[in-house]
Amino acid sequence: MSLSRRKFLAFGAGAAAASTGLSGCGSRSSLGGSDELSMWTWVGSVNDDLIGQAEKAIPGHDGLRLSMTRIGSNYKTKVLTSLAGKSLVPDIVAINDDVATYFPNADQFHDLFELGAKERESEFLPWKWKLGVTPDNKMMAYPMDTGPTALFYRTDVFSKAGIDIDPAAVAQLAPDWDTYIALGKKVKQAVPGSSITDNINSIFSYRMAQQPKRYMTVDGQYIGDQDHVREAFDLAIRVVKEGLSANAQDGSTDADAVVTNGKLVAFNAAVWWAQLGPKNAAPKTKGLWRVTAAPGGAGNRGGSFLGITKYCKNPEAAFAFISWLESAKNQAQAFLDPVLFPSTPASYTDSRLAAPDPFFGGQKIVEVFAESATKYPGAYFSPYDSIIGAPISAELVNVEVAGKSPDQAWNDAQHQVERELTRAGAI
């Protein structure tokens, strides 16, 4: 069908433009100079020292250097728009945990198996590796970090509520979500205004992140209307109804303010939040935070991948670069700064990771997250997960900010999902 579009264009714009001499040279190359590999990622997803080395010269390819762009916002939109724009597409792009949504366009990327990825498979967490491979067994995306989850909490606030602040004690006190909510209420009583989540969707997302299944089965059946989703949905609403959410919606001006002003006193979150949350938004709380095993069990949210686009000037060099960047040794370095959790288990025993983190009062936080990462069962992400997740999360916001009835919200969300999936031809 793309032929007919081209034909249409050829008859229309092409002809008109050519006849007036306006047609551009139609540059179809990738972004950056011929001695550069261009790469896009979002802020805080790489270790700056390693990138600095590659910006001088790509290891093993002296004539090439990396040209890195850190994108502050709307990352995915920018990548997809540049792919649709067909020019100035970067050689290498970082891809988030919604990697499966790119699978229908896997032909825009190089198959990393063809570039020698198979040899590296044994270095990585199996569940993580699988996420980057398409159903027809092409490797579209190479693992970067993972996002094991754990419970972050403020020791100063917890002790005001008379809670033993030792991580093991907190874990024992709140092994599941029920006990965790009870704990949250106790803290709130002692320190009014305390919240255990920034907003309703974080609870939902982190509960979903603990589940072995998500919205679709591998053979394409929709299961987003089943009990495991409803349970996470109801749990999120319960936390809000208990008054334990700070009601700071994602993307709002308040999202960081609740960390800065100390409203968020405990948060079941992924490892990368350590940097993006307290370290960035509340540097003054240094030493006050601890992490412990999350209520409800091990989980994973986020964690990213790298893809090499078909526009790439030198796929071999690009692959050499990404496999160097994501080696166990370098992933260990990325954990130290900016707290990216390695997808290579060999990193977990790296002596640098075992160092105490002063921000967490000298705690060795790697132990907590390593346990979560290795215990996490993995879950299937379908290409439709984003369009399924969007209405659900939108309806949750309606419950939190507008007091919409939970059943109504659930039904509306499911109805919307059904419409979207029907349009997408998924069901």
Binding site: M1, T77, L83, N105, Q108, A257, S393, A394, V397, N398
Partner: protein, 350 residues
């Protein structure tokens, strides 16, 4: 008040009664002069419009291959609650911004008209918001309206009123967006009204004064009717601008699943178009929404066109002037009656 008439008299290069052959060739320089616009329009205006029909018949993410789906995008659109919500939001925000904006502009223009001193200072001060970028303005207002640290809430709290969650409540969001639009455009419209006021002949006012009309009467019975064409002009521009609101909503809320804020309360038609096409990569659907927006604008334009079309315009102005005279006459008569009444009543009391 000059209005668009039929094209005015021009230098005629040829006699209209006996056009010599080769008149097209003779007019070649003129064609060449107007050609750039039409060529650019053909490529970047007309062709894309046709192309968008083609795209809207497809399911396409802009990257992979296109799948023909016929009218499916349109049938989805008609049954899409988010689309109707976007239209509703847009119209509400449009009303919330246009009505106070035009009223305030009228008040300011009137005050400016009466003020003789500092007039150019005022004009510049009022116009500055309009040349400031929407992005920067929205960032500032976003912090003023912020739920947790906003200046507005701090003020409300300090005077003993509770906080309002401006940026999470459906009405709060619409009010915030409408406020930004109003703030940016009040001065602009006031300047235009001022020009309209200055075009009203002083004689009319003199006559009214002689007839003893009060200043309020003058404002409502002379000024406003005489300004009607200008008011309609500003209403048209505000309508076209209002139907295309996008930046305010997008900068306030960014790209989240709830585009335009919680409950999509600030999601405008263009926000929804942008989200569909460039965030969800549904180019086909984005093209279909574009057509819906087009139909909406044409609808409003036809209404406006009829209202301000050249002849209508003059008729309205004339009618307004006549009505003003009539009103003043009636008013005077009524006043006289009143006066007589009062004297009579006074006499009765005695």
């Amino acid at each position: 008040m000059t209005v668009t008439k039929a094209l005015p008299a021009t230098v005629r290069s040829t006699d209209t009664t006996a056009k010599p052959p080769g008149k097209y060739r003779q007019a070649f320089p003129q064609y060449a002069a107007v050609a750039p616009f039409f060529i650019l329009f053909a490529i970047f205006g007309a062709f894309p419009v046709l192309f968008s029909i083609w795209i809207s018949f497809h399911d396409w993410d802009g990257i992979g291959s296109m799948t023909w789906v016929g009218l499916q995008q349109y049938s989805y659109l008609l049954g899409d609650p988010k689309f109707w919500q976007a239209i509703g939001n847009t119209l509400i925000i449009w009303v919330l911004s246009t009505v106070p904006m035009l009223l305030l502009a009228l008040v300011i223009a009137n005050a400016l008209h009466n003020a003789t001193r500092f007039r150019s200072f005022y004009r510049i001060a009022y116009f500055i918001p309009n040349v400031t970028s929407v992005v920067a303005v929205t960032l500032v207002f976003g912090s003023i309206f912020s739920n947790n640290f906003g200046l507005l809430n701090a003020f409300l709290q300090s005077v003993g009123l509770g906080k309002v969650e401006w940026l999470t409540q459906p009405w709060g969001i619409k009010i915030a967006i409408a406020t930004i639009v109003t703030w940016r455009w009040v001065g602009y419209n006031a300047i235009i009204y001022l020009a309209g006021l200055q075009a009203i002949s002083a004689d009319v006012y003199e006559a009214a004064k002689v007839d003893g009309a009060s200043s309020r009467q003058v404002f409502w019975r002379i000024t406003v009717p005489m300004l009607r064409p200008v008011i309609l002009f500003t209403a048209v521009t505000s309508t076209i601008g209002g139907l295309q609101i996008f930046t305010e909503s997008r900068v306030l809320f960014g790209d989240t699943n709830n585009i335009g804020g919680p409950g999509n309360a600030g999601m405008t038609i263009v926000s929804y178009l942008y989200q569909s096409a460039f965030i969800n990569n549904q180019f086909g659907y984005g093209a279909a929404i574009g057509w819906a927006l087009f139909i909406l604008i044409v609808l409003f334009s036809i209404i406006n066109w009829r209202l301000i079309g050249g002849r209508d315009n003059e008729r309205i102005a004339r009618r307004a002037a006549r009505r003003a005279e009539r009103n003043i006459a009636a008013q005077k008569a009524a006043q006289q009656e009143d006066a007589e009444q009062t004297t009579k009543e006074a006499a009765d009391v005695h």
